[in-house]
Symmetry: C2
Subunit: 514 residues, 2 copies
């Protein structure tokens, strides 16, 4: 099983040892998924009445998605939850910026968001795969969703200084792959592998797959696109194709496979109006009065009969604690949970990630490029350009001018907001031309590694080792949650699944306690 998805490579052990190593590691650790096969059952009030128990008091550190989901699920059974959040707002990395917002940055200038009415920028998560639990929460919480276009044949691929439409790159690559395999098949190279019947079936597929001519040649295809699309006439197909050598040299193949993975496959989804609709709905369900913002924990003490949490100017005692913070943030808070916990928390490494939102006065990508949503893939430091999957045909709009991680993110993060914008525009111009620098109304950029109390876009585990398994279980009365404790790192779904796991464990414990 070769679990190579782009995201997997970015965020997982894959970066170090290849995804195969990850799965091997999992098996060796006894983390076979069968043991988690059971569907989640939310706690409910009747669980207590049946067993003659009472719900407990829980302090939740961090009001990100994981902390909020934990509070929401525990709240269904009447648990008395308090969320302590160091930042000014709940939501954590689920952050949607709008006009009037102010984005602070650790050791950097703050940015005033000046977007016009109705324009928003999902600075954190921006898309949801349909199989993810995030969709279930959208349904349960009544959050309207709409399609997020993650794959667009009309978007561009920019590699080695060349720009082509994704449809063109794909048609040429598939055309040549089909031609090469069809011809060696025809020449008998597969005679010992495949029966004649199977060869015929294969050839039938390859003809369709590559849009091959009668002699199994790839001579171009209308799939590549047109300089003028058909109307009354047949249209004017693009010149081409390029030679196989040029197609290979352009290195566009990487982009073609972007949506093959189970996490990036078409279609994907987004909440209407901004990803923080999820945060807002959870906050409403949990109760805003249960969330205390601006509270920076300075000690976690596990006690015989509870947990005490202290901060500058206050403290709180509860029966249990859910620590829903990033591991590298949590590791810096003094506690009495033992050195092994600290070591485990220090194991996953934060990864830099950043995005810029560019608000334009006109939607030139729709008007001139006929790009409605989707992603342009590049080998530039901006990595991707996202076009909006909503507000089609509006007067203005926002595109994501870079979505970079690791070194590229650090490069942008180290710049001032003005220089980030300047660089992003210079890079984007290589693809879209001078119009990319025109009609820019405003911009906001985020460097997650520079966000206070967050300190990274996500984490990378050098190994999903014993630290990973250790933190799946409580240390005394303290539970740990977050996307970083799952195999859905960098997805909200991970935060949610982790919260569900902790909630299930905590609730079972309360029900079984003497």
């Amino acid at each position: 099983m070769n679990g190579v998805t782009r995201r997997g490579l970015l965020v997982g052990i894959g970066a170090a040892g290849g995804a195969g190593a990850m799965y091997a590691a999992m098996g060796a650790l006894g983390l076979a998924p069968d043991s988690q096969e059971k569907a989640f059952t939310p706690p409910q009030a009747s669980d207590f009445s049946l067993k003659g128990k009472a719900s407990a008091k829980v302090v939740i550190l961090g009001a990100g998605v994981s902390g909020l989901v934990a509070a929401y699920e525990l709240g269904k059974a009447g648990y008395d939850c308090t969320l302590l959040e160091a930042r000014a707002r709940a939501g954590g990395r689920n952050l949607t910026l709008r006009g009037g917002d102010r984005l602070e940055e650790a050791n950097g200038p703050s940015q005033d968001v000046k977007f016009g009415e109705g324009v928003y920028f999902n600075a954190g998560p921006g898309r949801i795969a349909p199989w993810m639990v995030t969709m279930d929460y959208c349904r349960e919480l009544g959050i309207p969703i709409e399609t997020f276009v993650n794959n667009n044949a009309a978007a561009y691929v920019h590699t080695n200084g060349q720009t082509v439409r994704a449809r063109t790159a794909r048609a040429d690559m598939y055309g040549y792959v089909a031609e090469l395999l069809a011809k060696v098949t025809h020449a008998g190279a597969l005679d010992r592998k495949l029966t004649k019947d199977d060869q015929e079936r294969l050839l039938e597929f390859l003809r369709r797959f590559g849009d091959l001519g009668p002699k199994l040649d790839y001579e171009g295809s209308t799939r590549r696109g047109f300089t003028k699309f058909p109307d009354i006439g047949t249209g004017t197909p693009l010149d081409g194709p390029q030679t196989l050598r040029d197609v290979l040299a352009a290195g566009v193949g990487r982009s073609i496979t972007n949506d093959f993975g189970y996490d990036q496959a078409t279609p994907m989804f987004q909440p209407v109006g901004g990803m923080d609709a999820i945060v807002n709905a959870l906050v409403e369900k949990v109760g805003a009065d249960r969330i205390r913002t601006g509270v920076q924990i300075n000690r976690i003490t596990n006690l015989q009969d509870g947990v005490e949490v202290t901060w500058n100017g206050g403290s709180l005692k509860a029966d249990y604690c859910i620590a829903a913070l990033p591991p590298h943030v949590l590791a810096r808070i003094p506690h009495n949970l033992g050195a092994e916990i600290t070591t485990a928390l220090r194991t996953p490494q934060p990864v830099a990630a950043g995005k810029i939102g560019l608000e334009y006065g006109r939607r030139w990508w729709e008007l001139e490029d006929r790009i409605y949503g989707g992603v342009t893939e590049t080998d530039l430091d901006i990595t991707h350009i996202w076009y909006p999957s909503h507000g089609y045909h509006a007067r203005t709009g926002l595109i994501v001018g870079y979505y970079a991680s690791e070194k590229n993110a650090e490069l942008y993060g180290a710049l001032t907001p003005e220089d980030r914008k300047r660089r992003a525009l210079t890079q984007g111009k290589k693809i879209h031309g001078e119009k990319y620098r025109q009609d820019v109304l405003s911009s906001v950029s985020i460097a997650w590694e520079r966000q206070a109390h967050i300190g990274g876009g996500w984490v990378r585990w050098p190994d999903f080792d014993s630290s990973f398994t250790l933190l799946q279980r409580p240390a005394g009365r303290v539970y740990f949650t977050g996307d970083w404790l799952t195999h859905l790192i960098a997805w909200q779904a991970g935060a949610m699944e982790s919260a569900r796991s902790a909630v299930t464990q905590l609730h079972q414990r309360v029900l079984q306690s003497p």
Copy 2:
């Protein structure tokens, strides 16, 4: 250039002679698209004031999309247009059915539409490609659009009695194609075709494309899907892969390439709330008072100084006429335009096409199959199943239970509405199981070949021959329009482009008239 798209095969000369023949034919006929390269300039009132001319009176036969667009564009310059429509409503094949509507059928029972609030069924066109002029009209007319999911990795492919997810079919086919080509490349079979460097680049692509193992074997992939998707754990991948022989025998390859064509590529779009938003907006712009419904023309007379159109109980004289009817309908109306015109009108052959809308009391395809929009491809007579790309997570919803053409459409068309439904449910059950026949609230089916004054889903030209070119030009003062006169047959964009062409010709003539 091998212009093989599925739609092209369905509707064009491709069915007879291969698409290559079509392009050759075009070239031979002097229809090189360069001559139509000029963008459309709508007529405007100032055209007349500058030239000292006056606009003219135009009678338009048929208030389908083509007739409406012609009236709309001519109206911009003050032309006095009257539309005569034989049916009870404007819109033609752009037909959206809702609760309370009644669908009549020639020589068949009528159907009362019983859909619940907010449920609709696009009985005619259902999707728009982003490059099409239809998008421009949506923008110009202020019609909100949303993504239409035309490709869904979670939808199914059903062939030869087997059902697999599209993602699984694709992963296996790509995996084996990559493995086969990688291994023959590795074995030196391409040494005379490709340099070693190019072979390395090709292998790099194939590894990604097929998710191959280190020894270039395809051993399955997480891209195939999971019985349990990753969460805290790594998930449980689907068993597999199937053998190459089984994959080839399943014949799933045809479905994989469905969205490769320029007309079906991801993403596609639809008006919010139903395709007839386009009709409604055009009717409003044109003025409902200019449209006379229930008018069945029985003669068209081209005169020295105008055109006279008569019907049972009335007649109308205008300076020009735009005949925006299907050719097979127009051919049956007596006229004095000459035998050559009649012969030309009889050349394109109407094609049967039908759809059924199945309204369900619960969206089981989302709840249980995690299918949010998209199309399941089958080798059954239902051909396709469409899942809705809107109303996600609503309580009820409508899926298109068949979208068939040619023989399959005729098969369904010949049944009673009740039998169409029964048959569609029986077929769909082969894919989705017994739940497909449960919770059905209501259904409506259309057989376009049985719709009065329309008589087909679209037409097929045996050849884009001299009849096609003849009808691009007026016969006397009568102009012809419709998708059938374009290379966008069966697309609204064809109707619109054709209308624009006639409007341009007519307006030039009026401006140049003495």
